[in-house]
Amino acid sequence: MGRLNWLIAEAVDVVPETPRVKTVSLEVPGWTGHVPGQHVDVRLTAEDGYQAQRSYSIASPSDRTRVELTVERLDDGEVSPYLTDELRPGDQIELRGPVGGYFVWEPSRGGPLFLVAGGSGIVPLMAMLRSRAAAGSDVPAVLLFSSRGWEDVIYRDELERIDGNGLRVVHTLTRSKPDGWAGYDRRVDAAMLAEVGPRANDRPHVYVCGPTPFVEAVATALVDLGHEPARIKTERFGPTGG
């Protein structure tokens, strides 16, 4: 891959997804495409020269020079509040990538596919599902998506649209639920994973992304259910939680 160069990206669009999450569409001249699950580094430089750099998952499937990032605003963050609150179409930021070859999937890898997301952990998994849909792939796929409440479900309408054609989307809401909610309303556990997901014998490709305690609990439960550790790819972020 060689050394990565910083590229100048221009914001084209900033769209709210939920109260705390926005999708930033960037036009990146010189972008050479990416694999779903890969990241970019974003670098901001203040007037005094101070630089802050963070890694973000790419939300969009590979599409020429367009790159979409879906960013959750973290109140004490150095980069995310700028991206969600300040960035306007026409503004420029520095970006390099794509990076990462571990937490990636593309339709040619086949399935079955079992995706487990907590909150904004949906982002790299959505790139995989969008790529699957764009390719017209019928690889069997299940997405189990844990959110705090219905209004916090990122990509809610789009997930409803792409449900079907071999993809099953299952939500669980951990803090609040709408009236009449008949779905899961607890944290992801072994029983839920067993009910929703492909069986270990079917040797699915499993991708788990979310806050660290979420990912570690889910990965442990999956191993207990007999899934091969080598087929469980994880991506975690957030507070250490001890």
Binding site: R54, G77, V99, G100, R236
Partner: protein, 86 residues
């Protein structure tokens, strides 16, 4: 992903400053407990530099500190690091 603790996936760009190959699929053996993991799966803490820790025993595997135009790399906690050579 703007917090102090991340994992090896989020460190891919920073590691690419140091190593010329894709690093999240590199396989490391922890010198503390002997666990074998892809770099993408290890814990990463961000401070003055980055610290990679074993997800099994928490031992420090690698630290990378960059200041101005110099980089310091400490690999004491890795028994081996297996890379894909192009």
């Amino acid at each position: 992903m703007d917090e102090l603790m991340l994992d090896g996936n989020a460190a891919a760009g920073l590691l690419s400053d140091v190593f010329a190959v894709e690093m999240t699929t590199a396989i490391g053996i922890c010198d503390g407990c002997g666990a074998v993991e892809a770099v993408g799966a290890v814990r990463v803490f961000r401070g003055a530099g980055i610290v990679l820790r074993c997800p099994h025993c928490d031992a420090v595997l690698m630290t990378v500190v960059t200041a101005e135009s110099r980089t310091w790399i400490d690999l004491r906690g890795l028994r081996t690091l297996e890379l894909e050579t192009p």
